[in-house]
Assembly symmetry: C2
Homo-oligomer: 210 residues x 2
DNA sequence: CCCTATGCTGAACATCTGTTCAGTCCTGGC
DNA sequence: GCCAGGACTGAACAGATGTTCAGCATAGGG
């Protein structure tokens, strides 16, 4: 994914096709991305797209594999060290950096998650798994209060932390922010922290809450 | 929207077409819904779909208008009474009831919101507006603590409250729940209440939070 | 030089999509 | 009975899509 540092003319046609397809899928979604549009953007013929990847679905699958591997490689933990209570947080910070470097990555991941693809469903579940492990660690360490339903609260934590990606366009519209700008992320993070460290409805019990 | 109480054979062809299109759009999205599929489900010819609505986009627009009006009619407040601090909450409860009655409504609304349609963006923003007004009311009444960034926190509140619709499939997969079942909503609501009434990280300041 | 493998193309194909068109049938009004 | 309007259809059309096919160019090896 060093597409920003290497000019398109330095790439093989296959690499150009893959990059073009990635960009188009991120911008428009799978359905609105045609083989002809990919070919045009890559500067090749439609037949070559099919030649290299076997079919349109072949291209789509290849991108998915490519991105999943890229994410895995770039967000995973070093083997040694690191507080388990912060593992997901560190992944999210790394992910933020990646999105800042390759803005289309956020859009691609959002589509993958929201379009009902099996990969997206499993990826979301995995993220909730990590969030739940992390929250459990924090409880044991006395950093977090006990939760009646730890998994549901972990899902909420993940949704809040990942909302700028998952719901980026909606939030950008509703809050007049631009998540390509670091300050918008900071704004979101600060509000999130406040919500989690200071009860919004301090005088209410859970049963009383609105 | 009394489609559940009136058998299809009692409807005009136009109404059947509209209901078929609604169901297909909710299930598959606009792109994967073809005029021929609508026609087949409605038991008419494709030409009749066009005859009644002018074009495929005409059908799509007609459904959108129909649903927005239906939602407006069924979630809006009576003119008199009602605590402003609970206005959005009451709307959400009414919406939940509607979704329980017409499950496809949730799926339709989710697609409208997530597919980047102008209507969906504006609708989301309007919901955040309401959430912010409500939160402001609660602060003034002393029911909620002051927020540094009220609007961002209001957006978070709305996202959490509406997540079973907005992110239904993801959550169903990650939490092994089914939001057609009332108990799953109750589970979500209870966890949400706990998060909002009891600081998850009570010993931390906002700057220290993970 | 010849052969093979790889990269690549333009043209053509089969299928699908949204839409138009000409025509039939039914109903209600005069 | 006749006419107009509305409901409705099947066939056809034009354009778009994913894919196949035949062929050309280049590079490397024997």
């Amino acid at each position: 994914m060093s597409t920003q540092l290497t000019g398109p003319e330095d790439l093989t046609a296959k690499a150009r096709i893959r990059a073009a397809a990635f960009a188009l899928v991120a911008e428009r979604g799978v359905h609105s991305t045609t083989v002809r549009a990919i070919a045009q953007r890559a500067g090749v013929s439609p037949a070559l797209v099919i030649h290299h990847f076997g079919s349109k679905q072949g291209v789509i699958d290849a991108i998915s594999t490519w991105i999943v591997e890229y994410l895995h490689r770039n967000t995973r933990e070093p083997d040694r060290g690191g507080d388990p209570a912060q593992a997901l947080q560190r992944r999210l910070v790394r992910f933020e950096r990646m999105v800042a470097e390759v803005p289309l990555l956020g859009a691609y991941v959002r589509r993958m998650l929201l379009d009902g693809q099996p990969d997206g469903l499993d990826w979301f579940r995995r993220a909730v798994d990590l969030s739940a492990e992390e929250l459990a660690h924090r409880e044991r360490m006395g950093k977090a209060r006990p939760s009646t339903d730890l998994r549901a609260e972990a899902a909420m934590l993940f949704i809040l932390g990942f909302a700028p990606v998952l719901l980026g366009p909606l939030l950008e519209h509703a809050l007049d922010v631009d998540f390509d700008d670091e300050r918008s992320w900071t704004r979101w993070r600060d509000a999130e922290s406040e919500l989690l460290t200071s009860a919004l409805y301090p005088g209410a019990t859970a049963a009383d809450a609105p």
